[in-house]
């Protein structure tokens, strides 16, 4: 039986394993965490349909559980990768017929944007923190009160030379709008302000959701990036931005600041480049063989990519790439 090693047990890796298993190919998933699922485990509901993230993950998990000859190795990392062999951090060497890299991305560390006060001031949270609050079913200020005014800042760690992240993380705009709607549903009396540089609603139903946020939920959108956050005497936060559409500086006191943190290239990517001869893009994401005809293939035959390892992607796209990488790997093995 042919054997494919999948590095990364996120949604793309899991989907890839399912597809390969259904094609009668044995797979091993290498996951550095103690459990499969990856980042989606922290998400609450998915844009634009507000489908619970758990529902999507469960469906894939369910499919994976039924698949045969899938080995799952958690708590270890791949150190060196060749098409025929993967060396693990434990020193173990696994042989295979092909490798799919589905290592995903690393979340931007909001602390690097010091001026926004993440980790310094209370009630400055990231979009990921907020998802977890949603999952717990409670969004509260550290004082225990409910927020009356919330600012959501787009592009934290994306499109920013100052933190060397020139690329657009693509999903944050949509997430910001989704979270604004969720917050308004939770706190109808609260004012929610989204501060954006551009609103990029690239997918089906996204623009409609954006319009719904404005029309039905009265979410305020201000085109302008917050420059800095400071504490106020009454324990709130003061933010400054330019309302670029009026050409005037703007400031206001807020109770909570949500930073829509971007997707950074995976910290492991330079190791891949150094140890395995693969290539990183200037953004740090892995370079696929071809942007049109070889999206899930690496320049090295027998090594494939799936999901956000090559670029920021949403859940649907990552799942699709899982399938696409599996099909490409199967085809290559059987050649």
């Amino acid at each position: 039986m042919k054997h494919v090693i999948i590095i990364g047990g996120g949604i793309a890796g899991m989907q890839c394993a399912c597809t390969l298993a259904e094609k009668g190919i044995a797979t091993t998933i290498i996951e550095k965490d103690s459990d499969l699922g990856g980042k989606i485990r922290s998400w609450h509901v998915l844009f634009p349909t507000f489908t619970p993230a758990d529902q999507v993950l469960s469906a894939v998990r369910h499919r994976l559980a039924k698949a045969e000859s899938v080995t799952i190795k958690t708590g270890c990392e791949a150190v060196k990768i060749t098409p025929k062999c993967v060396t693990l951090s434990t020193g173990e060497e696994l042989t295979c017929d092909a490798v799919v890299i589905a290592t995903g991305f690393t979340l931007f560390d909001a602390r690097l944007k010091e001026e926004y006060g993440y980790g310094i001031y209370d009630n400055v949270v990231t979009s990921v923190d907020l998802e977890q609050m949603f999952n717990k079913g409670e969004v509260r200020l550290t004082s225990g009160l409910t927020p009356r005014r919330i600012a959501i800042l787009h592009c934290v760690g994306s499109r920013d030379e100052k933190v060397c992240q020139r690329h657009c993380s693509k999903v944050c705009c949509v997430t910001g709008v989704k979270q604004a709607i969720e917050l308004k549903k939770m706190f109808p009396a609260a004012d929610v302000f989204n501060f954006y540089m551009d609103i990029r609603m690239f997918g089906p139903g996204y623009e409609e959701m954006y319009r719904e946020a404005q029309l039905m939920h009265n979410v305020h959108f201000v085109r302008g990036r917050i420059s800095e956050v400071s504490p106020t005497i009454d324990g709130r936060l003061q933010i400054k931005a330019e309302d670029t559409l009026t050409g005037r500086p703007l400031k206001m006191g807020i109770d909570m600041l949500v930073l829509l943190i971007g997707m950074r290239s995976n910290d492991m990517n330079p190791t891949l480049e150094a140890e395995s001869g693969l290539k990183c893009q200037p953004s740090g994401f892995m370079q696929p063989k071809d942007s049109f005809l070889g999206n899930v293939e690496s320049p090295i035959e027998g090594i494939f990519y799936a999901g956000a390892v090559t670029a920021p992607k949403n859940i649907g796209e990552s799942i699709n790439e899982g399938t696409a990488a599996a099909l490409a790997a199967a085809e290559w093995i059987n050649k």
Partner: protein
């Protein structure tokens, strides 16, 4: 506060043997400060510091007002370095934040564009026959005090604590734009959470106030202040800061930039006279101190020796809180007991009759 980010922005500060460059504004408006700095360094801390009578203004005010060209200021700065080398020093410390900013800027310029350094050497040689070495260490004088803050704390006769309540004094710090906003890595704590003054205040028992406009400019802005018609814009900046800090009821403001010290102090008078607004408690102004004065008070210097009678906003309420003993009637007497004149009464000062002293003429 959960911050520790200042530790990411550390710089090397020389421990001894400084070449001292004075500040145009500070030596005119706060002459006591520079004197006290030299005294603290040499007498209290036993360090070697050279106050060279040969050095000149860095011409930074002219530079930032677009009247001194870049080549000129480079040559002037090169001359200061040459004087330092000639005096046998390697560690340059300047009293002025703008000078500090300019030295930093030019050193970086020379590093990035070596041809400009070559030309400067040429110009300096042609003009004065001197040659210079790049200083081994460049610090602002506040860096130097920051560096010795723990030693000062050990020698301190008092803490920055309200003697009546035992509470730490609430201090607003203002570091000045040219300290770290241009080259954040060259200032202690960087530009977002600068620590140079905060470190002193915390070491000496005070409490730093973090208010929304903490990072905002005092409004000096050189050409903005120098042209009378633009002063409304200049004062509006101090106004914004004062409005923002007032609710926090600070006991005093401490600055490391001579310009900021002057403007935050004197604009309070202007605002009070124009709008009738005062920002301190009891309807007075908020006292504004230079960090040298703050260090001097901690070390037990007499406020009139520190030159605090030169302030626009009266410092007596602060001295009372600190429990500093002073002779009110000696306030306007100069070094040899000569009457130096006194300012007219103003809203920021005339809190009550008993602060108007009988002057021994």
């Amino acid at each position: 506060m959960k911050r520790s980010s200042w530790t990411d922005y550390q710089k090397d500060i020389a421990d001894d043997n400084y070449y001292y460059a004075r500040s145009c504004i500070r030596q005119n408006f706060f002459p006591g400060s520079e004197k006290v700095f030299l005294d603290i360094l040499s007498k209290d801390l036993g360090r070697n510091i050279f106050d060279d009578p040969l050095h000149t203004s860095c011409t930074g005010i002219g530079y930032h007002s677009d009247v001194v060209p870049l080549e000129t200021i480079m040559t002037v700065v090169a001359r200061q370095f040459a004087l330092m080398s000639e005096a046998g020093y390697e560690n340059f410390t300047s009293s002025c934040i703008t000078s500090f900013g300019i030295y930093t800027e030019l050193l970086n310029t020379w590093e990035e564009f070596p041809e400009t350094e070559e030309r400067t050497r040429e110009n300096l040689y042609k003009a004065t026959g001197r040659e210079f070495k790049i200083p081994k260490n460049l610090s602002h004088t506040s860096d130097v005090i920051f560096h010795h803050r723990e030693e000062i704390a050990r020698k301190a006769v008092r803490k920055l604590v309200n003697v009546h309540t035992g509470e730490p004094l609430r201090v607003v710090e203002h570091i000045g734009c040219h300290y770290a906003k241009i080259f954040p890595k060259k200032g202690v704590g960087g530009s977002e959470f600068p620590y140079v003054l905060a470190g002193m205040v915390e070491s000496w028992g005070g409490e730093i106030v973090d208010y929304p406009e903490r990072r905002h400019c005092c409004g000096f802005g050189f050409r903005n202040y120098l042209v009378q018609a633009n002063r409304g814009y200049s004062v509006a900046n101090s106004h914004k800061k004062l409005e923002s800090m007032a609710p926090f009821k600070p006991d005093f403001i401490v600055c490391n930039c001579p310009g900021c010290t002057m403007f935050l102090d004197k604009w309070q008078y202007t605002i009070a006279e124009m709008e009738g607004t005062t920002y301190g408690q009891n309807g007075q102004g908020i006292p504004v101190l230079s960090y040298e004065e703050m260090a001097g008070l901690v070390l037990g210097y007499d406020p009139w020796v520190l030159g605090m009678q030169m302030h626009q906003v009266d410092v007596e309420p602060l001295l009372d809180k600190l429990g500093v003993e002073y002779d009110p009637s000696a306030k306007y007497l100069g070094r040899n007991g000569k009457y130096i004149g006194r300012p007219e009464r103003a809203i920021v000062n005339s809190c009550s009759e008993d602060t108007l002293y009988k002057i021994r003429r």
